[in-house]
C-alpha cells in the first residue's frame, strides 16, 4: 500500500494532476455548477466541456512544443504561425452567398479540403523555415524563431490586408464548433494527434532519439543519430500542430484575426510544457504531462472569468497560481518540508 503510494507520488504525472484537481476544486467551491454537464441540442454542454474545448488549440501546440523543447530548443513563433495559417484558411474559404436550388447558401471560394491542406502546408513551410535556421544555419532557437514571430504576423496581415476575415461557409465551422457523439470535434483532433505522437515516440525510436539529442547532442551524433535532421523535422512538426490549432481557432470564431490570433500563445504553450514536468533544458519529455499542463492553464483562465476576478488583478492571480503550482511541484520544497516534519516529529 505504502509502496504503491510512493510509486504514485514519484510518477511525473502525479503533481501536475494534483494541481489540476486542486484548481477544479477551487472552481467548484466558487461555482457549484462547475462539474454540471447537460445535454443541449444533442451535445454535451458545461464548464468542463468548455475548458476542454478551449484548451484544445493550446494542447495541440504544447505537444509540438514539447518535442521542440525536448531537443533543447524553443519555438516562440507558434503564435505567428497560427495567425498565418488562420489567415490562409479564412482567406481561401471566405464564403460567398449564392442561391442554390432556391435557397441562399454560402459556398467556399476554394474547396474546403484544399483550403485546409493549403493552410497546413503553409504552417509546415513556417516550420521548415524555422528548422532550416536552427538546424541548417545553426542559429540559436530563440532568435531563429523570433524572426518568424515578428515577420509572421506581418505576413498574416498581408494576407488579410489588416482586416478580420470572416468565414461564412458553414461546413468549416464543424472543426471548431461541431460535435461528434456529443463531444467537441476539437477533442477528437487532439486525441488523434496525441495518439499519433504517442505511437511515434513510444513505438518507434523517435522518442529515444529526441531525448538523446536533447540531453547530449554531441554524444548522439557520435552514436550515429542525425541530430540535425531530427531537430529540423521537430520544428516542422511543431509548426504543423500550430497549423491544426489555427484551423480550430479560426473555425471556432468563424474568422481570422491576423493581429490577435494566437497572441502570446507561445508563452502559454511553454508554460504548459513546463507545468507538465518537462525540463526546459531539454531531455526527458512527458506528453501527457503537457496536456495536463495545458488544462491547468485553461482551468485557471476559466476560473478567473467565472469567479468575477476584476480584470485588473487577473495577472496577479495568474502569477500567484503559477508560483503556487511550481512550488507544489518542486521536489526541493517537499524535501524541505519533509525534513522539517521529521525534525518536529522526532522531538515531539
Amino acid at each position: 500500500m505504502k509502496n504503491t503510494l510512493s510509486q504514485l507520488t514519484r510518477s511525473h504525472l502525479f503533481w501536475p494532476c494534483v494541481t489540476l484537481v486542486l484548481l477544479c476544486l477551487a472552481n467548484v467551491y466558487f461555482n457549484p455548477g462547475f462539474f454540471d454537464i447537460e445535454v443541449k441540442d444533442g451535445h454535451l454542454y458545461g464548464s468542463v466541456i468548455d475548458i476542454l474545448n478551449r484548451a484544445a488549440p493550446l494542447m495541440l501546440i504544447a505537444m509540438g512544443m514539447t518535442l521542440v523543447i525536448a531537443t533543447r530548443g524553443i519555438d516562440i513563433s507558434v503564435g505567428a504561425t497560427v495567425a498565418i495559417a488562420g489567415a490562409v484558411v479564412a482567406a481561401l474559404i471566405g464564403g460567398s452567398l449564392v442561391i442554390k436550388d432556391g435557397v441562399q447558401t454560402y459556398v467556399s471560394n476554394v474547396p474546403m479540403p484544399l483550403a485546409i491542406v493549403a493552410a497546413l502546408a503553409v504552417a509546415l513551410l513556417c516550420g521548415l523555415w524555422n528548422g532550416l535556421l536552427v538546424a541548417g544555419a545553426g542559429m540559436q532557437p530563440i532568435v531563429a524563431t523570433l524572426i518568424l514571430m515578428v515577420a509572421g504576423r506581418g505576413v498574416a496581415q498581408l494576407i488579410t490586408e489588416g482586416q478580420i476575415v470572416t468565414v461564412y461557409y458553414e461546413p468549416f465551422f464543424f472543426i471548431g464548433n461541431g460535435f461528434i457523439f456529443g463531444i467537441p470535434v476539437s477533442l477528437y483532433i487532439v486525441a488523434v494527434v496525441l495518439a499519433v505522437l504517442l505511437l511515434l515516440t513510444k513505438r518507434t525510436a523517435l522518442g529515444l532519439f529526441i531525448e538523446s539529442v536533447g540531453i547530449n547532442p554531441v554524444a548522439s551524433r557520435f552514436s550515429g543519430i542525425s541530430a540535425r535532421a531530427l531537430v529540423f523535422w521537430v520544428y516542422a512538426f511543431c509548426a504543423v500542430t500550430a497549423g491544426i490549432a489555427a484551423l480550430i481557432i479560426t473555425s471556432n470564431v468563424k474568422s481570422a484575426d491576423a493581429n490577435n490570433a494566437g497572441l502570446l500563445l507561445e508563452l502559454d504553450a511553454i508554460l504548459a510544457v513546463a507545468l507538465g514536468g518537462t525540463s526546459l533544458a531539454g531531455g526527458r519529455f512527458y506528453l501527457i504531462g503537457t496536456l495536463i499542463g495545458a488544462l491547468i492553464i485553461q482551468t485557471l483562465t476559466y476560473a478567473i472569468y467565472s469567479l468575477g476576478v476584476p480584470p485588473e488583478i487577473n495577472m496577479v492571480v495568474k502569477a500567484i497560481v503559477v508560483f503556487g503550482v511550481c512550488l507544489i511541484q518542486s521536489p526541493a520544497l517537499r524535501d524541505l518540508l519533509m525534513k522539517h516534519a521529521f525534525r518536529t516529529g522526532g522531538t515531539a
Binding site: Y45, G162, I164, S255, N260, L263, G308
Partner: protein, 293 residues
C-alpha cells in the same frame, strides 16, 4: 518634388480592423492631397512612437501627426519638435500636458462620449421595471479606449439604480477572447439581460457564445457595442446585435486639410471632433452600403 509638403505620421499599430481603416484613410487622403507621407507603425508601443517622432524630426518633415498610444509622456519629445519648429497634430485622442503649445490641434473621437452614448441608448431602449443585469466585456486592460468607454458608460448609468454591471472582464478587444469570456459568464450566471462590449469584435465573439448556449442574441440578451465596423452591421442585419456606437476612423481627408491649414499658418481650434452616429439594429440595412470599413 521639393516643394511638396511632408507629413510624418506615427500610427499606433495595426491592432484592429478599425485601425487598419484609419491607416488606409490617412494614406489615401495624403495621396489625394499631394502630401508626401512618412508613415511609421509603432506596434502599440509608446517608445516606438517616440522613436518615430524623433526620426521625423531628424528627417526634417514639415508637419508631424500621431495617434498617441497613451495620453501621458509626450512632453520631452514634443518639446524637441517645438525646438525644431515642426508643428504637431494629434489624432484619435488627446494627451495630458502642462504646455498646450506643444501641439497645434487634436482631431478625433471621444471615447468617453462613446461610452455615454452606449449607456444612453440602453436607458432609452431597455424597457421594463426589474433590475437589469449588465455584463461588460472590456478592452485591453489599461488601454485608453477601455478605460474611457467604461468611464462614460458608468457615468450615465449611475443615475439609474436598476441598471447594474454584474460582471466585467477583459476580452482584449478580440473575438476569440470575447467568446471565451462570454462562455464562462453564461455558465456561471443565468441572469444576464444586457451585454456591453467595448468593441464590435468582442460582441461578435460573444454572440457566438450566446448562440452556442441555446439563447438568442439580441433578444434574450440585449447587445450593445462600439465601433460600428462592417461585421457589426452584418450582425445587426441578422438581428443579433442591437446597437453599435460609431467611432469613425476615416479622418484622413480632414487631417490633410488641417495639415495644409497649419502650414498656411491658419488659426485652429484646440479640438476638432469627428462626426459620429449611433446605429441601432433597425437602421443597419439602410446604412450598410455606405460603410467603408
Amino acid at each position: 518634388s521639393a516643394s511638396a509638403l511632408t507629413l510624418g505620421f506615427a500610427q499606433v499599430g495595426a491592432e484592429s480592423e478599425w485601425r487598419t481603416a484609419n491607416t488606409g484613410s490617412i494614406k489615401e487622403a495624403a495621396k489625394a492631397a499631394g502630401i508626401s507621407l512618412k508613415f511609421s507603425d509603432a506596434q502599440q508601443k509608446q517608445e516606438n512612437q517616440i522613436k518615430a517622432i524623433r526620426s521625423f524630426i531628424a528627417q526634417k518633415v514639415d508637419v508631424i501627426a500621431f495617434a498617441p498610444v497613451v495620453t501621458t509622456g509626450w512632453d520631452t519629445v514634443l518639446a524637441e519638435a517645438k525646438r525644431a519648429k515642426i508643428p504637431v497634430i494629434l489624432t484619435d485622442r488627446s494627451i495630458e500636458t502642462k504646455d498646450p503649445s506643444l501641439y497645434v490641434t487634436m482631431i478625433g473621437s471621444d471615447f468617453t462620449e462613446e461610452g455615454r452614448k452606449a449607456a444612453k441608448w440602453m436607458l432609452e431602449n431597455v424597457k421594463g421595471q426589474g433590475d437589469v443585469n449588465i455584463v461588460e466585456l472590456q478592452g485591453t486592460v489599461g488601454s485608453a479606449p477601455a478605460i474611457e468607454r467604461k468611464k462614460g458608460f458608468e457615468e450615465v448609468i449611475k443615475s439609474e439604480p436598476r441598471f447594474k454591471i454584474t460582471r466585467s472582464q477583459t476580452g482584449d478587444f478580440t473575438r476569440a477572447k470575447g467568446k471565451e469570456v462570454m462562455e464562462a459568464f453564461l455558465k456561471t450566471d443565468k441572469n444576464i439581460q444586457v451585454l456591453y462590449a467595448h468593441n464590435d469584435d468582442m460582441a461578435i465573439g460573444a454572440i457566438q457564445a450566446i448562440e452556442a448556449a441555446g439563447m438568442k442574441p439580441g433578444k434574450d440578451i440585449t447587445i450593445i457595442s462600439i465601433d460600428a465596423v462592417k461585421g457589426a452591421f452584418e450582425a445587426m442585419m441578422a438581428g443579433k446585435l442591437n446597437v453599435s456606437v460609431e467611432c469613425n476612423p476615416l479622418l484622413g481627408p480632414q487631417l490633410m486639410n488641417i495639415v495644409k491649414d497649419v502650414k498656411a499658418g491658419k488659426q485652429l481650434p484646440k479640438r476638432i471632433n469627428t462626426e459620429e452616429g449611433v446605429f441601432p439594429m433597425e437602421t443597419a440595412a439602410k446604412e450598410f452600403p455606405n460603410r467603408k470599413y
